[in-house]
Amino acid sequence: MAVPTTAWPETSNAASCTVLTPPEHTLEIVSDSGEGAQKCGQIFGAVSAKMGNGVWTVEIIPAEIQPPPRTPEGASGNRIRVGSRAITNWGDAVDLVVAFNEQVLLSRHRLGALAPNAIVLVESLWASHPNPEIQAAWTKAMAELSTTGYRIIQVPMEEQCLTIDDNPRKGKNMFALGLLAWIYNRDLTRIEEQIAYAFRKKSEDVYQRNVGLLRLGCSWAEANLDFRIDVAPAASDRALVVMNGNEALALGALASGMELCAMYPITPATSVSHFLADVFEKFGGVLHQAEDEIAAAGVAIGASYAGKVAFTVTSGPGLALKTEFIGLAIMTETPLVVIDVQRGGPSTGLPTKVEQSDLLAALFAQPGDAPRIVIAPATIEDCFHSVITARRLAEAFRTVVIVLSDANLATGVQPFPRPQLRAEWQGAEPDLTPVAPGTRPYAWDARLGTSKRIIPGQPGGMFTVTGLSHDENSKVAYGSGVHQRATAMRSRKLAVLQQMLTPPEVNGRADGELLIVGWGSTKGAIEEAVERARAAGLSVSSLHLSFLSPLEPGLAEIFRRFRKVMTVEINYSDDPADPFITPENRRRGQLAWILRAETLVDVDCWTRVPGEPLRPGVILDVIRRTLAPREQEAAS
């Protein structure tokens, strides 16, 4: 489809229009499910990134596909934080919100999502709706909202849309996009390109109708609003790409050279497979949707056993189901990459919401001693590279590598430097050369625990892998000496890898009062909080771990340079002030648990399971409270 180009409207009501120039701005667009707020937000985020802004987006997703309309719990949409510098997290509060009805607006208000002086653009249709109940609901909501400091602007969205389209429910999101495009001075040509891409499978008509609504929103805003917001682009001379974490995982898988992904649908991991379903065949790959999570692991293991490393992608409940197969891969030393896009748990938990509570399951869920490698991307860019790293480690160490992403990264959109693709990321083709007589399938290097893999097709290498205890020839052997040695060999590989890693870098001073330790998607929020705290004169640094098994080296030494070490995580820990909780029985955050065991340092934790990403302002408060007694002490 030819993409029409449209010049930005030259004229503006400049006389009455204030242009605000904040260094960053956070906006949300919320609607009932199915009204397209998410698409609007995604396009706005992508275009902002393409225009050079730092961007982070978060999806606001109800658990149901079509929850009842006009209910607070049905709110669906997107938060976009744009800045003049790199943006690494979703921020604290929303500065501007576009709401398709007052109920979804109320939901965001009640959740404390909006800044005290937020600008609110709300559909005015409901004020004069023929249904008296709806009118009453509107009046009641407006009364509640009037007690706030919001600047509320009523926008006749549907009335406007009806002037050019007979089904405004389907096009209101493009009208809203037009509003935002005018307010934030977004490049209409780029927006139209994005619309063309989003509707590439639809007719030209659909495209034209959407562009018409976009322009209508733009003109309405120009004629009726008295402010614009200009967030200058971030300075960057590097080529950037912008995508969400699941797209980055899928692209990373392509870059890693893996040729088979077996999966079973599960939120929030599934979109990785949607991406692969579109392109994997072109890359010589197979996306296999298995009959269940267990079979998905089995198919990936079968493929890995017979050639190139394969992978499976899942979320918590799926990881639980794959447990036995993961143990088999570890026992048979069959390389396997398992991507776990974490959500809230346990059980079905919070399917669409972020949590970091699969860490201990990823590390330990298994009968017997089953060491495996666990890594966690902290950014969208990490999502891309973590899969490449995982493939290489799985191959080099003949073991399972679990990649712990999460729902925040999965749907978060962020620009990052365009990867310079390298051939060696893809690994070698299967080696089908004959095996020298006498070669053992587990010829463990006695120091390293590593051994070279023999795969079917290699003449002279025939052997049977087994999940039973086995010796170097893969012969079933129950002798105590054999089991002790084989278990040691599988374990040794982790020690070897740990010694190959470099100690992690401390963000901030290398010593001080407080060290915050995190892992995974919380990096941006933690580092922003720590920077703000340091700017306020507090003695705090942070450390972010990419390797969870084995842990990066030198942690105990780093920890000793701080008076207090505390993890910040999105998982559960007991509040020390709660009834019955003592230092002895307190259940701690999952990383804290590991760090205490591994370093013998009295690592504290602050963790929450709110079903949303952590806010930097909240972490800053935690830092202040944690350091407060010491500040008072110093003052006295």
């Binding site: 990134a49 393409k50 891409y197 080529a239 950037l240 790409v241 912008v242 797209e247 692209l251 392509l254 040729e259 088979l260 392109v279 065949e281 072109k282 890359f283 010589g284 790959g285 197979v286 296999h288 298995a290 009959e291 267990i294 079979a295 998905a296 089995g298 198919v299 990936a300 293991i301 079968g302 493929a303 890995s304 017979a306 050639g307 394969a310 036995e324 197969f325 088999l328 620009p415 365009r418 693709l421 051939a423 893809q426 083709e429 299967p430 080696d431 089908l432 050369t433 079917p456 097709g457 290699q458 003449p459 002279g460 290498g461 025939m462 049977t464 892998v465 087994t466 999940g467 079933v476």
Partner: protein, 320 residues
């Protein structure tokens, strides 16, 4: 076939041309440690005969099994083997075949393995119809764990978990498979009739698609009695005969109960499978025209350089 696939896969070196004839000794592994009198021995012998007859390269052949007595099978051969976990041999075999279509894959399962803990995979494997031979070594009991009721244990048969007798009628694996969409080959044979066993496995091997063979077996420890009458009295056995099925002339004199059955007739096959009056051996159904998942999903080879170029194009879509 293997050369073609190797070029498809871009293997480093195709297997060197070992063109000599393979003999029994090229396939025979260590002495099998099943109980004396176990039906698994007969199956292993028949499989070894098949490997020799078809001259399958040991390095191009993979036996995949689950857990149970019969799943020790791969250990007793000198081919490649994958002895996995209980009930999950079929997914592993599917993964092997999807990624390495050049390999010949056999799957060995027991009745608990296939029809109970692995039932989900079983039904879906039938529908995938991936090119491989699947053998169900059905002795109607959990033997390795010592006499628990399996899905195919006869009703009333006493076990350690159902000491007053198995509560329910047994699951009929043939009916299950013949009722599953996209089934392409279902046969039944018996461990005590080696000639029929061998002929059936050979027909299964030559089938294009998933060839599923249920092998009726006795466990000498726990279920010796269940086929005792049929072993002693060939008239209790009816052979399904057809040019497209299994023809074993040497059995003519002993097994006189014969029924002409055209394996392309699915309804007739279902009726014969459902009727529990007689022990019927032979090919119940075969249809090579059914879609094969491994064929539909066959990947083409993409070089490292091509992949980088393609990936650059994908990244262009996300370029700022």
């Amino acid at each position: 076939m293997s050369e073609f696939s190797c070029s498809v896969l871009g293997c480093v070196t195709p297997s060197v041309g070992d063109e000599r004839d393979y003999e029994l000794g090229d396939y025979e592994g260590p002495v099998a440690r099943w109980c004396p009198g176990c039906g698994d021995h007969s199956v292993l012998t028949a499989v070894e005969r098949l490997l020799v007859a078809e001259q399958l390269k040991p390095e191009q052949t993979v036996f995949v099994s689950g857990i149970g007595c019969s799943s020790r099978f791969p250990h007793y051969l000198k081919t490649y083997g994958f002895h996995g976990i209980h009930g999950r041999a079929l997914p592993v075999a599917t993964g092997i075949k999807l990624h390495r279509p050049d390999l010949t894959v056999f799957v060995v399962m027991g009745d608990g393995d296939c029809c109970s803990i692995g039932a989900a995979h079983w039904v879906h494997a039938i529908r995938y119809n991936t090119q491989m031979v699947a053998m169900l070594l059905d002795n109607s009991i959990y033997g390795l764990t010592k006499k628990q009721t399996s899905p195919t244990t006869p009703q009333g048969f006493k076990t350690n978990t159902q000491p007053t007798g198995s509560f329910l009628p047994p699951l009929n694996p043939l009916s299950t498979m013949l009722g599953t969409t996209n089934v392409s080959f279902v046969a039944q044979t018996a461990e005590w009739i080696p000639a029929h066993l061998y002929a059936t496995l050979r027909a299964a091997y030559q089938h294009r698609g998933l060839a599923f063979v249920r092998i009726l077996q006795r466990c000498p420890m726990y279920t010796q009695s269940i086929y005792e009458r049929a072993v002693k009295d060939p008239s209790l056995v009816e052979l399904l005969v057809h040019d497209d099925g299994v023809v074993v002339p040497e059995l003519d004199a002993i097994y006189r109960g014969r029924l002409a059955h055209n394996p392309s007739d699915l309804n007739a096959a279902r009726a014969l499978a459902d009727d529990g009056e007689r022990i019927r051996l032979g090919v119940f159904f075969r249809d090579e025209a059914r879609p094969r998942y491994d064929e539909i999903r066959r990947a083409h080879k993409v070089s490292t350089t091509e992949r980088i170029a393609l990936l650059d194009q994908e990244l262009d879509k996300y370029a700022v």
